[in-house]
Point group: C2
Chain length 216, copies 2
Amino acid sequence: MPKELTETQKKILDYLIERIKGKGIPPTLAEVAAHFGYRNRATVQQHLAAIEKKGYIRKNPKLARGIELTLEDKFFVPRPVLGEVAAGNPLIIYPDAIDTIELPTIARMPKDSFLLRVKGDSLKDAYIFSGDIVIVNPNLEPRNGQIVVAILDDAAVVKRFYKKRSQIELISENPEYEPIIIDKKYPSFKLVGIVVGVYRSMDASPFIPIQRRGKL
Amino acid sequence: MPKELTETQKKILDYLIERIKGKGIPPTLAEVAAHFGYRNRATVQQHLAAIEKKGYIRKNPKLARGIELTLEDKFFVPRPVLGEVAAGNPLIIYPDAIDTIELPTIARMPKDSFLLRVKGDSLKDAYIFSGDIVIVNPNLEPRNGQIVVAILDDAAVVKRFYKKRSQIELISENPEYEPIIIDKKYPSFKLVGIVVGVYRSMDASPFIPIQRRGKL
DNA sequence: ATAAATACCATACATTTGTATGGTACAAAA
DNA sequence: TTTTGTACCATACAAATGTATGGTATTTAT
């Protein structure tokens, strides 16, 4: 189990992850220093040593940009989950990250997307379940039938989106939930983004392994 | 549209991609040279110049490992799908990639994992559906109750794994399918890996947007 | 009270790294 | 035939890079 990081160390690690996952190129000491306004590389050097000691990265000695994320080899990388979102009844969405899930290393986010954990079962007919992580892109125009995340009276919902002449309808796949109809002028409605993908980790299995034997 | 690459250039580009996506660190000229057995960096230097000229990479001048993949700066990154795997009845698994899916940029794979597209519905009670992409890690020891991919008589299956004294059981979540019982000595059985995650793209929506209005 | 960890700065140095330049050999195109 | 492109080799060099060492100030644990 990796040890706790200090504030500064965490910031630096986040930057490393951002650079490695985002650009594909780990930064040099000089670049990290520049990014944080440090006057010299030795400072970064020491922070990296500390982060490495705590087990989050591995440094290839003598090699330029020789920073590897060790967490990556464990297949999981911490990603912030911005909030929980109701597939059924609205839930509160938090301004900051409420949690960090261990998205597998398959987890490089498009830089403008973010993650939300789904609570509730109103999307079960669309094969999205409570506990799933949805990848939300805020910079896409919604088309009819797409699954979107929207804020409604300070709560967030995940629903299927339909735009009509003068109103927007948010429909659950699950017939137990009533469609939400929004007049276009409705003030507290805001479209957050479009669900571009769903990810579910199999690691901490939410399923109880039922010892089902033989035929039924 | 990028121009055609020569054989050598393609090999080098493949290596670059492998390094950037796999390790997260682009190689230096020296490393590329070593990998291909070149006696000096200038050779690589010239190949890279050619590849850049043809538009596949961008080089940050003067910067160590300053190689970026130009094709990558989009939302989706092509990833090879190694085969299709049956959640219900066994299907054939192909030695090479059968397809390339556009995994979202959230998609950087752990280097030893690979993707399989699921066909069939025997795992629907585990919320895995036909068309989903499962992320499979071949280097983990399976624990009871985990979902695994296994090869059985040249066909691959996705099932829940249970190890008993002298036999292994592969069980479907879906009661319609019979459990598969394998004697430990069974020759043609091979465990491929453990399903560590499921990804589903919402992009090419498999669902027909049903115009369901009002209450039912 | 003292030790240890954190968070920086500055300077120095050997290597690594990218790049420039020049050369050879070969095949295909003009 | 000459030119162009590909595929290598060798040497040289400035800048980038990681690392070592030493220092100060502050906070946290003992």
